[in-house]
């Protein structure tokens, strides 16, 4: 789950990491009031930052600087309600619903500090670089020697001397080194404390007077931890998420909207991806990824089928089930249960294999659904693509 910058910064603050003073606003007036409040505290410049989940906001005009509260209000007003297009959004962009009004700080140096999971070493890894303010992927590709890594030992957390070592690698000295060490330690503590999958401060700045401050922040939370962290779940912003994906999540289904025309419902993430790949090989384009998961009940399959049929641009549907935990008869019953509430006006291709596959096929044949039968995976993909033409 992605968090907004303002949510991420609130968490940094909670863990004792310095962030600039700021306030969220959703209107011109609120933005101006927020900036005026900062002006009273002595700030003379104000950053207006679009709060959207997509990165690359700067390049898309989602970050502007103002020299007065009224200018901050104007810039916020111009930004709010528009579709922001960044390198990470589609060409349609994303709607700006909120902006962050932040006091401008004096930047002496820009650094990068991030933590994510190193799957290979099976532990969190700190990524630090003196090249801050740019995409770390670019630094990793072009200047790999500018990347410093430190791994966090499971159970133990980051040792102070390890944090100090990262701070030295960032070129920090004296009291700035101590401040940097503290930020690194706290970020590691936060990463583990939140069960984050990503915690990134870019840039981490050194101010003219040697303070170390998180100027931008991006935190992703491990979806699997949300069941025990209602406080983090409450930070979810459904307006940033795909409508069908939300509907699927409510039924514990894994759904991702794609651009193509062949809808597919599969059990298992790997088989679902392989099915999408086969559709592509057969000359079609997948409309979605939909994994009905292990142990799917009749209700869940019915919900999955209903959601799938709501996808735009569909001209064909492929149901590919290889029964293991999921039983073919249950899948069939789920589809049949969904039928009365649906108008199925596009061809449906069904491939059932594995546990109770025959029973499932039989149930479908006895139902009102007209469908094309396929035996193998490639046959199913070919038939589904062909039917949609």
């Amino acid at each position: 789950m992605k968090l907004h910058e303002y949510q991420s910064k609130a968490l940094l603050r909670q863990y004792g990491i310095p962030v600039p003073e700021s306030e969220v606003a959703d209107s011109t007036e609120a933005a101006e009031v927020a900036a005026a409040g900062l002006a009273e505290k002595g700030y003379t410049r104000f950053a207006v930052k679009a709060q959207v989940h997509a990165g690359g906001r700067g390049k898309g005009g989602g970050i502007k600087l103002a020299d007065s509260p009224s200018e901050a209000g104007e810039l916020a007003g111009a930004m709010l309600g528009t579709q922001l297009v960044t390198p990470q959004t589609g060409p349609e962009g994303v709607l700006v619903r909120k902006v962050l009004i932040e006091g401008g700080v004096d930047i002496a140096d820009e650094l990068y500090l991030g933590i994510t999971i190193d799957r290979s070493k099976k532990r969190p890894v700190i990524i630090a670089s003196t090249e801050g303010g740019v995409e770390i992927e670019e630094v990793a590709a072009n200047k790999p020697d500018k990347i410093h890594n430190e791994w966090i030992t499971p159970g133990r957390g980051l040792e102070t001397f390890e944090a100090a070592g990262v701070a030295y690698a960032l070129g920090l000295e004296g009291k700035t080194h101590r401040a940097g060490t503290a930020v690194i330690k706290k970020l590691a503590e936060m990463f583990v404390g939140l069960s984050a999958s990503l915690a990134e401060i870019n840039p981490l700045i050194v101010t003219g007077d040697g303070q170390v401050v998180a100027l931008d922040a991006k935190i992703n939370i491990d979806d699997n931890v949300l069941f025990r962290r209602p406080d983090l779940e409450a930070m979810r912003d459904p307006s940033e998420e795909d409508e069908l994906e939300i509907a699927a999540a409510e039924h514990s289904l894994s759904y991702i909207s794609l651009d193509g025309t062949v809808g597919c419902m599969v059990n298992g993430a790997g088989l679902a991806m392989a099915t999408m790949d086969e559709i592509l090989l057969a000359g079609g384009t997948p409309a979605n990824f939909l994994d009905v998961g292990g142990g799917a009940s009749v209700e869940r399959v019915a919900a999955a089928f209903r959601i799938l049929m709501r996808a735009p641009r569909l001209n064909s549907v492929l149901i590919n089930i290889f029964g293991g935990i999921v039983r073919g008869d249950r899948v069939a019953k789920g589809i049949i249960e969904a039928l009365p509430t649906l108008e199925v006006d596009i061809p449906v291709t069904v491939r059932l294999q594995g546990t109770k596959a025959e029973e499932g096929r039989k149930l479908l044949q006895e139902s009102s659904l007209e469908f094309i039968v396929a035996e193998t995976l490639d046959e199913a993909a070919r038939k589904a693509v062909e039917a949609g033409k």
């Binding site: 990470q88 999971i117 799957r119 290979s120 099976k122 532990r123 969190p124 992927e137 990793a140 030992t153 499971p154 159970g155 583990v192 069960s195 999958s197 491990d222 979806d223 699997n224 931890v225 069941f227 025990r228 894994s254 991702i256 794609l258 599969v266 059990n267 298992g268 993430a269 790997g270 088989l271 679902a272 991806m273 392989a274 999408m276 790949d277 086969e278 559709i279 592509l280 090989l281 997948p286 990824f289 994994d291 998961g293 292990g294 142990g295 290889f322 029964g323 293991g324 935990i325 999921v326 294999q353 594995g354 546990t355 193998t376 995976l377 490639d378």
Partner: protein, 292 residues
């Protein structure tokens, strides 16, 4: 021969009295697996299906039923503790089916299992089957055939798909291992490749990867160094868009790394026969092994 499990394996099922646990325990027993014990905290003393003693702890199951392999069906909130319990009790092999365990829980668990000397398969995996000998997992037993091909996969159903193809072309499997789709898991492609290389029965290996992570690249590194068996590989997710989560937490393409194309390239360079279509896995292996 086979790897990981065989007819001598003594299996304890953690979570045996739950819906999934009881269903699959019956399936395993029906397949011929020697399920010697079950564990459900608080239900110690009961007997599952009038045949399998249930204990409160894995330690008891170890001591009283001499279980050496644990199959774990425990909800995500308790799964990490259950795996650690199995490892602390000293089972040789733990297989965790559970999907949705927090990644940092697994970071801790994997380190714990290493300390205890317990091999962990999974989590979020279908388990392991050595056809004709022992099934410790949730895969449909009937699609399998005893034979000479080793199968390793990050996916569940896609593995059944591959196994089904192998069986249809008459190629049985020595052992099929689902290593699980999560970002942090206990056993890697490489670990399994090493075991298959040392297994006399196994004559070829099917490797089924996915986008995300670098497990396939690490396997390629290892395979490039004179691996003794032919390997056929398929990587799922060529059509997956970057940055999207595809069901398996492991299958995220982050920052251009871990793409299907990259994985296919390095595997090819390592001498692996990479197939573009998942439907080609069986026939390709058959061609290579000359049993077509």
């Amino acid at each position: 021969m086979s790897i990981l499990v065989d007819a001598d394996s003594r299996v304890v099922v953690q979570g045996i009295t739950g819906t999934e646990g009881s269903f699959h325990t019956r399936q395993c027993i029906e397949y011929g697996t020697n399920v010697v014990a079950g564990v459900t905290p608080g239900k110690g003393g009961q007997t599952f299906d009038d045949s399998v003693p249930v204990f409160n702890t894995v330690e008891e199951a170890r001591a009283k039923a001499e279980a050496d392999v644990s199959l774990i069906f425990v909800p995500p909130a308790f799964a990490a503790d259950a795996i650690k319990e199995a490892a602390a009790a000293g089972v040789r092999l733990a297989l965790c089916v559970t999907e949705g365990i927090p990644t940092l829980d697994m970071v801790d668990v994997v380190a714990y299992c290493l300390e205890c000397g317990t091999r962990l398969i999974g989590p979020n995996c279908p388990g392991v089957i050595s056809p004709g000998k022992c099934k410790v997992g949730i895969m449909p037993g009937f699609v399998h055939l005893e034979g000479i091909v080793g199968v390793i996969s990050r996916s569940g159903t896609l593995t059944y798909e591959a196994v089904d193809q192998l069986t249809r072309v008459g190629l049985g499997q020595s052992t099929s291992v689902g290593i699980g789709g999560d970002p942090v898991n206990g056993t890697s492609f490489r670990d399994c490749l090493e075991m298959f290389a040392e297994d006399e029965e196994t004559k070829g290996v099917v490797l089924i990867g996915e986008i995300g992570g670098s497990a396939e690249e690490e396997a390629a590194d290892y395979l490039a160094d004179d691996y003794p068996l032919p390997v056929v590989a398929f990587i799922a997710g060529r059509t997956a868009p970057p940055g999207k989560r595809m069901g398996h937490a492991g299958a995220i393409i982050a920052g251009g790394k871990g793409t299907a194309d990259e994985k296919m390239r390095v595997l090819s360079e390592a001498g692996v026969t990479v197939v573009e279509s998942p439907s080609a896995i069986g026939v390709t292996m058959a061609e290579i092994l000359g049993t077509d």
